[in-house]
């Protein structure tokens, strides 16, 4: 069974937003919804400055607090690790929104708190989802964490990584390259 994960090399991101709009088109999102976003952090004082950019999207946590608080199991984790939302079961209580430490949830036009869905239609055939394939700087690399031969596993073996907010115990499946 595949277990999908994502490696983000934020050091290469130049904040072009192609990932965001490619995702929006692929998933037909309205302009008010964004499954991935960037956080910009200015560091230093002139002229010794550095910009840091952190691309953020649903971490597909191994222990997803959003699923834990969901009273109807509308948010659920699949065997391959994807955390998805069944809109039909969603009763709109929005417990999942504050439960997510990554602020990944976005209320869509149907009032369902949606989020990045790791675009399984691409992952299952070994391709990169639109946010990744369009990125000119190759910031994102999706793959199968279980498969030692996947590009992702190989790359993970060569870089040191960190994860966001580990103290929450969510065990996110997004790894960030440490610089």
């Amino acid at each position: 069974m595949a277990r999908y994960g994502l490696l983000i090399d934020a050091t290469k991101c130049t904040g072009c937003m192609a990932c965001s709009i490619a995702c929006s088109h692929h998933n037909q999102l309205s302009t008010k919804v964004d499954f991935n976003r960037l956080e910009f952090v200015e560091k230093g004082t002139y002229p010794n400055v550095k910009m840091e950019i952190v691309p953020l999207q649903c971490m597909h946590c191994d222990d997803p607090p959003c699923a834990l608080v969901c009273p109807t199991q509308a948010t659920y984790k699949r065997d391959d690790g994807l955390v998805l939302v069944d809109a039909n079961k969603c009763i709109g209580c929005y417990y999942c929104i504050p439960a997510c430490p990554y602020d990944a949830r976005q209320v869509n036009e149907d009032r369902v708190p949606e989020k990045c869905r790791f675009c399984i239609e691409y992952l299952s055939v070994g391709e990169q989802p639109p946010c990744s394939s369009t990125c000119m700087n190759e910031v994102r690399l999706f793959g199968d964490l279980e498969d030692p031969d996947s590009e992702l596993s190989k790359k993970l073996g060569t870089v040191s990584t960190y994860q966001l907010i580990p103290e929450k115990g969510t065990k996110p499946r997004i790894y960030y390259v440490k610089k």
Binding site: T11, K12, C13, T14, G15, C16, M17, A18, S20, I21, A22, S24, H25, H26, Q28, L29, S30, T31, K32, D34, R37, L38, F40, E42, G44, T45, Y46, P47, V49, M51, I53, D86, A87, N88, N108, E109, D110, V112, E114, P130, S133, T134, C135, M136, N137, E138
Partner: protein, 734 residues
């Protein structure tokens, strides 16, 4: 998003029936609901989000565009696209499009007319103008290149020499220098370089996706990237060093670098002896420009200048100063000399035609149609003054001067103006002055949308079909990035036109037929056939592939013929001096020219206004796009950047609204207080300030640098000098 709702919807009504019931404007969400399970047809074509024309695949469901993705072969995209490309595609269904031919009925008001009526009236009026004032009173003004093939035939037959592009508002200082000093243009071989300097060039803002990919790849392999720019731009994010420079002094910095390379014997003498003409002339004039002098002018320390020169030399020939684009090459009175110095420095590094240095872009000769001979009346001198003795002799005639048309109208020289895919009222300096374009006897705008030029100046608007609705003649893929393999690509129709619009060829045929010429007796299919058949390719194959790559035609090595350098100049060598400039009584070699204006350091409100591209908009072209504008909103994209210390002195806080005032304009702007900009300059993004009321998304959002600058002409290349302006910045009184 709701799976259930979508299913029931589809079950209740067959998808086709639903489609016909869907109004013309429907958002992508509605579309997903009706068409999610329809088969996808992927058709290759080219992007129009900027002028790079990346290859792409349009995904079509039920005759409707769903999304686009990068073409994997096309060397500009190689499977990747930037945000503006994605956004631009959905503007096919956007709200700013012109839906059929329009005729002015009053201030900002138009009535729809038929194409027949439009052709008849425009044809008759143009003919009358040609008969009364001569063909030379007619001008064709366009963004550049795209309409040239058709425009030339028209201008030739009426006897007009006035083909003018937007280039003077963008980069003509650079092309002028390269054309005269090298005879052609080379590009950085980013992929193989070890040391790259991006000076006033934000490659991550004006994006070529595969070009950026090559840069990040080179960096992974250990290449060093230096960014020299008054602003910490997007490319600075991945640079090893950002070195802020005083805006307008890049020429001094470059002269300082040359001084180090020459005095420390770091330059490639073998290369210079063999391939350079005019080294001594250059050095005799410029010996005095030491790094200490350059430091004084530019604010970059002499030690840093020495360090950079030494590192450039150490890595040569796999090092370069990026030849650049809009960044430095239309902004200052010394932009041409700055561009010249880019060539001089690269030549001193001996990096021409070397891997990792500067290399050409391969191209292949396309076939062309035999057109019937036509009578060509004699043409007069250009009315924009480009290349005209006593006016702007040294300006490239192929590009022209776009920004001073109202003068030519007032002088009675320009009577009929055709504007194709260019919007001088928004994208040339001083909109109030540009509005006078309407005083020409006839102004015809051929756009896709209700841009400012159409609304405020055009007598007729003839909408061209959107780029996804039309097929164009095939083109070589080239520009800005080096590559060995020539490629050709085709823009082709992927959906049926939504409105009563036409491709340019049909528009030109319509007008010229009414004038009694039969110029365009061919179809775009004929053009495609003629272009590709000599290459052994069928039109069908090109249509299917979208982009075709050919075996390499480029190898490293300075061009030589019979053992002599032959790079396309008179001497065949890189000429450090531009002969033409001397004819005009100017200096042929680059030497120090101070910027025209400088902010007074004693006045705490004074700044130089600078500008640049943001990565998700292409100047005004994309700004009415709701998706791209949503990004702008989310990330505070319209704010003016102001240095923290200077802001403190003025009592301005982040997010405040301030008054920015130049000699010609006074506007209010929101500020971003930041450490990321030189204290002497304020920066605004180039994309905003739309004032067409028909642009529901971009109207009145942000300001534009063109609002603040008078329509000036840089004396050497005709550029707009768009950063030679001082503004005062004041807090809005509470």
């Amino acid at each position: 998003m709701t799976k259930m709702r979508r299913r029931t919807f589809l079950k209740a009504s067959a998808a086709t029936a639903v489609l016909s019931a869907v109004p013309l404007y429907f958002n992508f969400n509605d579309y997903q609901k009706v068409a999610s399970e329809a088969p996808i047809n992927k058709i290759p074509t080219t992007c129009n989000g900027c002028a790079s024309m990346c290859g792409l695949f349009a995904h079509i469901k039920n005759d409707r565009l769903w999304k686009i993705e990068g073409h994997p072969i096309h060397l500009k995209s190689r499977g990747r696209l930037c945000a503006r490309g994605h956004g631009m595609a959905s503007d096919l269904y956007g709200k700013g499009r012109v839906t059929g031919p329009m005729k002015r009925t009053g201030e900002e008001s138009f009535e729809p007319i038929s194409w027949e009526q439009a052709f008849k009236e425009i044809g008759e009026k143009t003919k009358e103008i040609v008969n009364t004032h001569g063909g030379n009173s007619v001008m064709w003004l366009e963004h550049g290149v795209r309409g040239k093939y058709y425009a030339d035939q028209f201008l030739d037959v009426i006897g007009s020499s006035n083909y003018v592009t937007h280039y003077s508002t963008c980069f003509t200082s650079k092309t002028n220098a390269w054309q005269n000093m090298v005879g052609s243009s080379l590009n950085g071989d980013h992929e193989n370089s070890k040391y790259m300097i991006f000076e006033g060039r934000n490659f991550a803002g004006g994006i070529i996706p595969h070009g950026m990919n090559q840069i990040t790849k080179a960096k992974e392999k250990g290449a060093k990237i230096i960014v020299i720019d008054p602003r910490y731009s997007e490319i600075a994010k991945i640079a090893d060093e950002w070195i802020p420079i005083r805006a307008g002094t890049d020429l001094a910095f470059r002269l300082g670098l040359a001084h180090v390379l020459i005095t420390e014997n770091l330059y490639d003498k073998v290369f210079v002896n063999k391939y350079v003409e005019g080294f001594d002339e250059f050095w005799n004039v410029n010996k005095k420009y030491t790094p200490e002098w350059a430091a004084e002018v530019s604010g970059i320390s002499a030690d840093k200048i020495r360090e950079i020169a030494r590192e450039l030399a150490k890595n040569a020939p796999e090092s370069f100063i990026e030849p650049g684009w809009h960044g430095l090459h239309s902004h200052y009175i010394n932009s041409t000399q700055t561009a010249q110095m880019g060539i001089v420095l690269n030549a001193l590094l001996g990096n021409f035609y070397k891997r990792g240095g500067l290399m050409p872009s391969a191209s292949i000769a396309l076939g062309s149609m035999e057109l019937p001979a036509q009578f060509h009346p004699e043409k007069g001198p250009r009315i924009d003054g480009a290349g005209v003795e006593g006016e702007f002799l040294t300006v490239e005639t192929g590009r022209g001067i776009a920004q001073r048309l109202p003068d030519a109208i007032e002088a009675g020289k320009l009577k009929a103006l055709f504007v194709y895919h260019f919007n001088p009222l928004r994208n040339a300096p001083d909109p109030e002055y540009q509005k006078k374009i309407k005083n020409a006897e006839l102004v015809v705008s051929i756009p896709v949308d209700w841009n400012e030029t159409s609304i405020y100046a055009a007598d007729y608007i003839l909408p061209e079909s959107y780029y996804l609705e039309r097929t164009e003649a095939p083109m070589n893929v080239s520009g800005h990035i080096s590559h060995d393999h020539p490629q050709i690509s085709l823009r082709q129709q992927v959906v049926k036109p939504l409105y009563d619009t036409k491709p340019l060829l049909d528009i030109m045929r319509g007008i010229s037929n009414e004038m009694g010429y039969s110029l365009y007796d061919y179809t775009v299919e004929d053009q495609i056939k003629a272009a590709v058949e000599p290459l052994g390719i069928t039109p069908e194959r090109l249509k299917q592939a979208g982009t075709i790559e050919f075996p390499a035609t480029v190898k490293p090595g300075f061009p030589e013929s019979n053992g002599k350098p032959s790079c396309g100049t008179f001497t065949g060598k890189i000429e450090f001096s531009i002969d033409l400039f001397r004819l005009d009584g100017k200096m042929g070699i680059p030497t120090w020219i101070p910027p025209m204006v400088m902010p007074n350091p004693d006045i705490k409100e004074e700044f130089r206004l600078i500008h640049g591209k943001c990565p998700w908009h292409s100047h005004g072209v994309t700004s009415n796009n709701p998706e791209l504008m949503a990004i702008t909103e989310q990330y505070n994209g319209t704010a003016m950047w102001l240095n923290t210390k200077r802001a403190n002195d003025l009592g301005i806080k982040n997010g405040d609204t301030v008054i920015v005032e130049s000699d010609i304009a006074k506007k209010t702007v929101k500020v971003r207080v930041t450490e990321f900009i030189h204290p002497e300059a304020v920066w605004i993004p180039a994309a905003y300030g739309g004032f067409s009321k028909k642009f529901t998304t971009s109207y009145n959002v942000g300001v534009n640098y063109n609002d603040f600058i008078p329509a000036m002409v840089e004396p050497h290349s005709g550029s707009t000098m768009s950063q030679e302006v001082i503004v005062t910045v004041r807090k809005v009184a509470n």
